[in-house]
């Protein structure tokens, strides 16, 4: 394994795969996961590539699997996930898979259609049941009033009911005949339905409606819908036709409803028995469906993985060039040099699997001037830290990888802010538990996003907890309470104390035993009233020291890069001025902090100067004539500070201008070469245009792309100067920003 300090050396390789062996070789490479293939057919649109039919077949299979998965989810069946990672099946198995999926989908579809028909039947019957039940009460009422009239009507055998509660009509029950339609309509359409009926009949219909309380299930969508039973009374054939049309328009289901009580009862009985019969059939279908879907659910995960692997392999094969004889696929890939052996072996395995000789797959290292991709080989411990760094930006190829240092610096800086041993202990414990039960937790396969974040960063949490214990110990903070482990060096000797109201003032001269607390902060500070003032001053100084150290460290790492890539000019025009700039302000500040800590003790505390004011005055070049009678920090302070400031200001143009100017002159000197080169590019462009006008559209679009690339190159060339300036300016800001942040901290 390579080191984490720089990204692994990566080589561009050419892959020659015999067509028969290519599938299994790529499968092996995919399992290995150490190769980054290059798309050699960028200019070919997706559907014109060689293996597009296979990719499409996989998509079709995925569609079927999605359908099955949707059905399984609808029935709330748990999909078995064993965590197995099956290898990509051989290409000939693809047909088997296809046939199997086809059969399963068909089976499920058949079941669905029959279930749908059954459910539709069931719905019809339930609605009829409701109609009979609801209209029952209504007709009963009528019956009580107009028994005699009904008997007459029955005798005639017509489909009519007299219902107007008007006494005059009682006398002549036969003069007006009312027909009726009974049915069920969705409740949300009811008001519009009524309104329209009223309108088409000019108000000559009577509508009675009762809500069905229990929601009914729609057989097609499976949603539950609220419906209402309605009864429409009207007169005349024409109106009947219209009413029926409206009913159809609103998807209302109309049911025949007998008018006599006895007939209705008989019908209701019939409906009830049919519903019961149907129920048993529906349960049977559901059991069958459940059994089928459960058996699918057991292996659907594996199938999905297999199909996806096949698809990925063919997708990768689409990136290969095919040689003229059609016998060989030629591709290009990046692979880490250290892994070349393993890749070779994987290729041989693949070739062997497909029954070809070992020479069927050849890996050929090539020279290239392209910038290879960055590859860091990480393990489970370092990957989380690498992830943190990568989220800010990925280092270029072979650049120093900050992740290595982050392993310590990130938890440490975290602990400086967290700073409580007790809470840190819990954090450490949580991290430790996750690390100890790592394998078991992986197997549990918890799919909650937040958990993924925590579990992915378990080693980070572990280290953060560990460092927090240390920082908490140094801050003497244990669940926000101090621990007096080594015995405080402060004493409450009442003789030497001034007591002011509730507070007793301890003087650092009289009330200490002169021996500092062994490690960390004296516990007495936690209960003092000026705890915040003291700790803030201390912690801020600590923060500045660590912050500035980190910045120096970063600049030194950039020096490592400049040296590694042999960029002299960067050392002189970036590294050195940056170092001087940093040192003149913040390096000096850090020195002052230590100096102040060492040079002043309690007896001369009143004369200790404020470093913040000192730093501001350094920039303003203000040096007080001694008003308070205190000497300056050290002799010659003014001269030193002025000198540092001048150096600092000098660094700004040095950083900003020197490198772009040097590059500019270099380019001018090399102009002849550059001109020749861009001329060559121009000629090529002309060439391509000529070609394009002769060839088909597809080639044209491809070449346009190529042209664009070349144009980019030219543009890049011309814009070099500006870009250089910009990059330098951004470099400058990069250095200045943390400086500003530090100033704010001060």
């Amino acid at each position: 394994m390579g080191s984490l300090y720089r990204s692994e050396p990566v080589a561009l390789c050419q892959l020659f795969l015999q067509s028969e062996a290519s599938y299994s070789c790529l499968s092996e490479l995919g399992e290995l996961g150490m190769v980054q293939l290059k798309d050699l057919n960028v200019t070919v649109s997706a559907f014109q590539r060689k293996f597009v039919t296979e990719v499409r077949r996989c998509e079709e299979m995925e569609r079927k699997l999605r359908f099955l998965e949707k059905e399984i989810r609808e029935d709330d069946i748990v999909i078995l996930d064993t965590g197995d990672n099956p290898e990509a099946p051989a290409p000939r198995e693809m047909t088997d898979l296809e046939l199997m999926f086809e059969r399963l989908v068909k089976e499920v579809r058949d079941l669905n259609t029959s279930a749908e028909a059954l459910k539709q039947n069931f719905l019809d019957l339930t609605q009829l049941k409701h109609i009979l039940r609801k209209t029952h009460s209504f007709f009963d009422e009528v019956d009580r009033h107009y028994d005699s009239a009904l008997i007459d009507l029955q005798a005639e055998g017509t489909e009519s009911v007299n219902l107007l509660a008007d006494d005059s009509l009682l006398v002549t029950p036969h003069t007006i005949r009312f027909e009726f339609v009974a049915g069920v309509v969705e409740r949300q359409h009811l008001s519009a339905f009524e309104r329209m009926l009223w309108r088409i009949s000019m108000g000559n219909v009577l509508i009675k409606q009762v809500d069905i309380e229990t929601p009914l299930e729609d057989p097609i969508t499976g949603n539950s819908v609220l419906k209402s039973v309605f009864l429409i009374f009207f007169q005349g054939e024409q109106l009947k036709a219209k009413v029926k049309k409206v009913c159809a328009g609103f998807h209302a289901t109309i049911y025949p409803c007998p008018e006599t009580k006895a007939q209705r009862r008989e019908m209701a009985m019939g409906v009830m028995t049919r519903i019961e019969d149907l129920n048993t059939v529906i349960t049977q279908t559901e059991v069958h469906r459940f059994a089928l879907l459960s058996s699918i659910a057991e292996s659907i995960r594996i199938w999905s993985i297999k199909v996806r692997k096949i698809k990925t392999i063919y997708h990768a094969m689409n990136w290969f060039n095919i040689d003229i004889t059609q016998k060989c696929l030629i591709g290009e890939c990046w692979c880490p040099v250290a892994q070349l052996e393993r890749i070779q072996r994987a290729l041989q395995r693949g070739a062997a699997k497909s029954g070809c000789s070992e020479s069927a797959a050849i890996l050929n290292r090539m020279d290239t001037r392209e910038q290879p991709p960055t590859y860091h080989s990480t393990n489970k411990f370092t990957s989380a830290f690498q992830g943190i760094v990568d989220s800010y930006g990925v280092a270029s190829y072979r650049e120093v990888n900050p992740a290595l240092f982050t392993i310590i610096s990130f938890p440490f800086l975290f602990s400086l802010m967290f700073g409580d041993a007790g809470h840190g202990f819990f954090m450490f414990l949580a991290g430790l538990l996750m690390v100890i039960f790592e394998n078991r937790l992986i197997r549990m396969r918890i799919t909650v996003d937040v958990w993924d974040i925590f579990f992915g960063g378990r080693y980070v949490i572990l280290l953060m907890g560990l460092f927090s214990i240390y920082a908490g110990f140094m801050y003497n903070d244990f669940f926000s309470k101090p621990l007096n482990i080594f015995g405080s060096s402060w004493s409450t000797d009442l003789k030497n104390m001034t007591v002011d109201g509730r507070y007793a003032s301890l003087s650092p001269i009289n009330n200490t035993n002169g021996v500092p607390y062994f490690a960390g902060i004296d516990p007495v500070w936690q209960m003092s009233s000026n705890k915040i003032t003291f700790l803030n001053s201390f912690k801020m100084k600590i923060s500045i020291i660590f912050g500035v150290t980190q910045m120096f460290f970063g600049v030194i790492l950039s020096f490592q890069n400049h040296r590694y890539f042999n960029e002299r000019i960067n050392i002189y025009c970036e590294f050195i001025p940056e170092m001087i700039f940093l040192f003149c302000i913040f390096g000096y500040l850090v020195i002052l902090i230590f100096y102040k800590w060492l040079a002043y003790d309690a007896s001369e505390a009143s004369c200790a100067p404020s470093l913040l004011i000192g730093l501001i005055n350094m920039f303003l070049m203000q040096y007080d004539t001694k008003e308070d009678g205190c000497p300056p920090l050290f002799k010659g302070q003014q001269a030193v500070q002025t000198c540092l400031l001048v150096l600092c200001i000098l660094c700004v143009p040095w950083l900003l201008l020197v490198k772009p100017l040097v590059k500019h002159y270099e380019r001018k000197r090399g102009l002849t070469y550059g001109a020749a080169r861009s001329g060559y590019v121009l000629m090529r462009n002309g060439d391509i245009e000529l070609q394009a006008s002769h060839s088909t559209l597809s080639i044209q679009s491809g070449d346009v792309l190529l042209q664009d690339q070349q144009r980019d190159e030219v543009v890049h060339h011309v814009d070099g100067d500006d870009e250089e300036c910009l990059s330098n300016a951004s470099e400058e800001t990069e250095v200045r920003m943390p400086c500003n942040a530090n100033t704010i901290l001060v």
Binding site: F47, V52, E62, R63, K245
Partner: protein, 348 residues
């Protein structure tokens, strides 16, 4: 409503619609689409665009009508989302956009009923943006008066329909007249509504609707040649909110043939170009296509300005044009008739 507090109510939706607009197919996408050999290729390519997997769950072989439905469905989902998120006046504005689809649906249903088609066969052909509750009961009406009294009175289109009640029965010519009369009333009402909104919405929409009105006036005139529509009836169908109003419309009302229409357009610089560049010869663009092209140009302009509702209208129109383009290409691919495959109208 001005730029100061536009974003309080409509900022999210404006951002959203601008995002949607970014997904409109580009010229390069079309170049790829027209190279497709089969509808499967088309699907594959559309997958790499903003349409994503909208066809992924469709079984092959793919039908053009399925693509059409899915395109509509996608637009409707986007539109409904915006409609649900919006408050007045934007909500009203979006409703106005759907009215034109409602008119089309009504006319489609009446025509279908006239030809004795079953209503269940007609409903799927209606544009889902313009569907309304009473739509499926439309076939009970046999006269315009009945249509109004029974069905349309509850819809927002009721006020547009009042002028048409006088028509005696529903035959083909009358339906066309109803359609155009409805459209006329609708455009004028929409125009008036946009004017009340004022600011850049009013300014932009008056351009857009003026064009729509003028296009209708031209097309009504051209299509009326050789029918028994009397000239003064024709004049009544012209929407009076365009640039042609009043002189151009008066001249159009007198026109007897295509040349005279063309002569009217001569006076208007933007339309003159369209008439000049169009012809009925094969291989050249028809007047209809030129109108579409001009519309696309006009709609694209909406996105240059901020803080106005015009972009919602423009987005729906551009999306509609895009659907037309995709369907055209899909039809050409499906019928293996590639000669005219590139007479789509590119948008960006």
């Amino acid at each position: 409503m001005n730029s100061l507090n536009f974003n309080i109510d409509n900022g999210y939706l404006e951002g959203l619609v601008r995002g949607f607009k970014g997904g409109i197919l580009k010229q390069t996408d079309y170049l790829n689409l027209i190279q497709c050999e089969t509808l499967e290729d088309l699907k594959l390519h559309l997958q790499s665009t903003d349409y994503g997997n909208f066809l992924a769950n469709e079984a092959s072989p793919l039908q053009v009508s399925v693509i059409d439905d899915k395109l509509k469905e996608k637009l409707v989902i986007e539109f409904q989302h915006m409609r649900n998120q919006s408050v007045t006046p934007l909500a009203t504005f979006l409703d106005y956009i759907t009215y034109s689809y409602m008119i089309d649906n009504i006319v489609l249903l009446i025509t279908g009923t006239l030809h004795q088609r079953a209503i269940s066969e007609l409903i799927p052909k209606c544009h889902p943006l313009g569907s309304f509750e009473q739509m499926e009961a439309l076939h009970i009406a046999s006269t315009p008066a009945e249509l109004y009294n029974a069905v349309l009175v509850d819809t927002p289109l009721a006020s547009y329909f009042i002028d048409c009640i006088s028509e005696q029965d529903l035959d083909e010519l009358n339906i066309e007249i109803i359609r155009n009369a409805l459209y006329k009333a609708y455009l004028e009402d929409f125009y008036k509504f946009c004017q009340t909104l004022g600011d850049s919405t009013g300014a932009y929409m008056s351009d857009a609707l003026a064009f729509e009105a003028d296009r209708r006036a031209f097309i009504i005139t051209i299509n009326s040649f050789g029918t028994e529509l009397p000239k003064d009836d024709r004049a009544k169908l012209y929407p009076r909110c365009g640039k042609l109003f009043p002189d151009g419309l008066a001249a159009l009302a007198r026109a007897d043939d295509y040349e005279q229409v063309r002569a009217v357009a001569e006076y208007y610089s933007e339309y003159r170009v369209l008439f000049e560049e169009s012809s009925n010869n094969p291989g050249e663009k028809t007047l209809e296509d030129k109108f579409f092209e001009y519309e696309v140009m006009l709609m694209k302009k909406a996105f240059l300005d901020q803080f106005h509702f015009g972009i919602f209208y423009a987005y729906v129109k551009l999306k509609e044009q895009e659907s037309r383009n995709i369907i055209w290409i899909a039809e050409c691919v499906a019928q293996r008739h590639r000669a005219k495959i590139d007479s789509y109208i590119p948008i960006f």
